[in-house]
């Protein structure tokens, strides 16, 4: 989806705040939100890493920015738990109000609706029998597609032409796995884009490397290579 999470190349954010001494968790709740999110992702809901990332992306832009990193993790945890029927919508808010002394009726437990999904193996890497469609040095174009659901094809490379620099290990496709529509294992390619092909002639000169799944790519038109 074309959401707030897809930040590559956006402008207006200013300088990066930098504190080389910060601890892993700056506040106690951050660690607890982190740990509960990891448990929510698979053991408690039967979801997966891609569904977890999509639960981040689905957060409304203002919420996404307002909550900060571990606030987003807390919200994604709640999202996966309500999606799978482990928690009722509104249960966390109601409990929070109860904890601070308000007289609130908590919603009844919903019916469990965990995804009909079992991973075929741990992790995301999966073997693919067919040889890769592209080889190192091939010119490829990132498709200009705008899926409504999860994708790992960021906006800033869509429609742009790059060169395969490396064949990465094949892996399940996040786009389908996030929605429990199958692992759809496929080849993954490290692709290099010239910065000026992405940002115009006045851009800084550098190479941008990004890993793109087979479904995201097409052969570049022949006239480009000649």
């Amino acid at each position: 989806m074309d959401g707030i999470h897809d930040m590559g190349g956006m402008q207006g954010w200013g300088t990066v705040p930098f504190d080389p001494t910060e601890p892993a968790f700056k506040k106690g709740w951050e660690g607890r939100a982190f740990a509960m999110s990891l448990l929510s992702m698979n053991r408690l809901t039967g979801a997966n890493l891609d569904a977890m990332r999509h639960a981040l992306e689905r957060q409304p832009p203002l919420e996404y920015l307002r909550n900060g990193y571990y606030g987003r993790w807390l919200l994604l945890s709640e999202t996966l738990l309500t999606d799978s029927g482990v928690l009722a919508v509104g249960a966390v808010d109601a409990r929070a109000r109860t904890l601070r002394g308000e007289d609130v009726t908590e919603p009844p437990d919903p019916e469990l609706s965990k995804p009909d999904y079992t991973a075929t193996a741990p992790g995301s890497l999966r073997p693919v029998d067919d040889p890769p469609r592209f080889k190192v040095g091939d010119l490829v174009r990132a498709k200009d597609i705008h899926p409504d659901g999860h994708t790992r094809l960021p906006r800033y490379v869509r429609g742009r032409i790059g060169t395969v620099w490396r064949i990465q290990p094949s892996a399940l496709l996040p786009d389908t796995n996030a929605h429990f529509l199958g692992e759809n294992p496929q080849h993954c390619y490290g692709v290099t884009f010239d910065s000026k092909a992405l940002w115009g002639e006045s851009a800084e000169s550098f190479d941008l490397h990004i890993d793109l799944f087979d479904d995201y790519l097409e052969a570049a038109p022949e006239e480009v290579g000649s």
């Binding site: 190349g9 930098f18 982190f34 740990a35 482990v86 966390v92 800084e204």
Partner: protein
């Protein structure tokens, strides 16, 4: 697309406490297990792991070769593996090539060697600018690269994770592997800094 929880004006600390209270009450979560997760990532899995990998690569040419050829295996040799480390590619900085790692879509980061990502890595300013104006961005981190240095930026969009092997600082020829470890920061292994010079 299914709905997400409605925006809440309740403090995030309180909502975290509320979620834990419900999950514990349902018998789904053991607070001691949460404590263990937190301790692991706050104390055990962090950039010290990556620093040990780098210091060994600086002092053991055969290890360095293995590390650049197959980062995942060479890193596992040192005992570092786990979530967000299924495939780790190590990128060697030289006098003429500088690598920088980012994740524009979330904040993917090689946990087994660097731990959890620091705030700057997760900041929208870093995620947006690293792929558009890396030289200007590095300058703001205090890293001013000469025009002869080629910059290569890696956007971690798949399950491949990247770690930078920084250049060994000048004046460290006499130092042992153990003495080199403290010179290697997470910033150096992400590409926003060079390794530190010996004091």
């Amino acid at each position: 697309m299914s709905p997400v929880p409605a925006p809440s004006d309740l403090p995030v600390e309180l909502r975290t406490e509320a979620l834990e209270s419900i999950l514990v009450e349902k018998g789904l979560v053991d607070p001691a297990v949460l404590d263990k997760f937190i301790k692991t990532y706050a104390e055990d899995v962090g950039p010290l792991n990556g620093a040990k990998v780098v210091a060994r690569a600086w002092t053991d040419p055969e290890y360095k070769e293995r590390l650049l050829e197959d980062g995942t295996s060479a890193i596992a040799e040192m005992g570092f593996k786990g979530p967000q480390g299924e495939c780790i590619v190590v990128l060697e900085n030289t006098a003429t090539v500088h690598h920088l790692v980012v994740c524009t879509l979330c904040s993917c980061y090689p946990w087994p060697v660097l731990g959890l990502p620091p705030s700057w890595y997760k900041d929208p300013a870093y995620r947006s600018r690293a792929v558009r104006e890396p030289r200007a961005l590095l300058g703001e981190f205090g890293l001013h690269l000469g025009p002869e240095v080629e910059i290569k930026v890696y956007d971690s969009s798949s399950e491949v994770r990247y770690m930078v092997l920084p250049q060994r600082p000048a004046g460290t020829e006499g130092l042992s592997e153990e003495e080199l470890v403290p010179l290697v920061t997470r910033e150096a292994m992400t590409g926003v800094a060079q390794a530190k010079s010996p004091a």
